[in-house]
Symmetry: C2
Subunit: 199 residues, 2 copies
């Protein structure tokens, strides 16, 4: 577990976020598909080849921040108390997302990114892929918890479905928040209350 990273990694991160900022403004202006990697690289002042040394693909630029948030959720879930009902643990692990929506500055930025994603089928696909990966991570966390509680009879399908259901609530609230950003938290709570499993 490395916290900050070496000096080299820090400067690498700095370049990455410079690229990301530049690219995002281009995407917002012209759209994702209409912006070529060459243009981004030129705007940053580097060759196309170097762009691909910082990001494995054009898609990744957009999801730079989301990746970190996603990891945060998984570690949060793992840190919840063992006795807490799983549904509540899932809800609590979503808190960082709600906090981002509460902070106006982050909200503005995230909304811009979401607009970019919604307008590009390719990006939507990539986004859903990340969501799927998040679900796998959350499922593993819950399964590991079940083991630690020495519940041998845990039904993997049910856990997977429950995580999927919770993430569906998150996704639905996010879509809803596209129209009314303030309503994210309330929407999420309504959805998760309505879908709460009986057990």
């Amino acid at each position: 577990m490395v916290a900050g990273g070496s000096l080299r990694e820090v400067s690498r991160r700095a370049v990455q976020s410079r690229i990301a900022r530049t690219a995002e403004s281009l995407f917002a202006d012209k759209g994702f598909e209409e912006t070529t990697v060459d243009e981004i690289a030129a705007a940053v002042g580097m060759s196309q080849r170097s762009f691909f040394r910082y990001f494995a693909s054009k898609d990744e630029v957009v999801f730079e921040g989301l990746e970190r948030l996603s990891e945060q959720l998984a570690t949060r879930l793992a840190a919840r108390p063992l006795e807490e009902p799983e549904w509540d643990s899932l809800r609590r692990s979503f808190d960082p997302v709600a906090e981002r929506f509460a902070d106006p500055e982050h909200r503005e930025h995230d909304a811009a990114i979401q607009r970019i994603i919604d307008r590009s089928p390719r990006l939507l696909a990539a986004y859903l892929c990340r969501l799927e990966r998040l679900q796998r991570a959350l499922t593993e966390a819950l399964l590991a918890r079940a083991v630690r509680r020495s519940e041998c009879g845990t039904d993997e399908v049910v856990v997977r479905a429950m995580v999927g259901g919770a993430c569906a609530c998150l996704h639905a609230a996010t879509l809803h928040a596209a129209e009314d950003p303030e309503a994210f938290g309330r929407g999420l709570d309504r959805a998760m209350t309505a879908l709460r499993p009986a057990a």
Copy 2:
């Protein structure tokens, strides 16, 4: 609403499924990413350009059948009785999927396709995209139903989340069925029973 389509469309469909069959066997042999469109076209006996006249992208070949199944689910849901609880309607609209898993011939074919999808990140993304589209369609169907029952107070976020939860059950059962195809139906029922909303 056209049922069969004109003679031209029928022959077009025939060519499409010939391409699809050829492509699938190539994918199964060498993998999706490792098979070029040129190879597929050559194997079918046409130019690459013509391939793209039948399929908008290389991805689409794989999802030819799934698309139809998806439409089937949406129309099924719309046809369920108004009084039926939404969760039950969703479960019933999934019946065609269960039936496919029950039929050994279809199951074999679908399992092959699923293996292809699972081995390619790009295809997984495309698959999740279709699932998302299915969710949109199902959500619309349920919302339309609420209108017909003249329930004005329907919470769109909750409906969206509920559909998402049901589809999460479907997805979880599908993943589970990758290991044990016979267990699809049981897995789906366990998941949907466990996640059934209280209301």
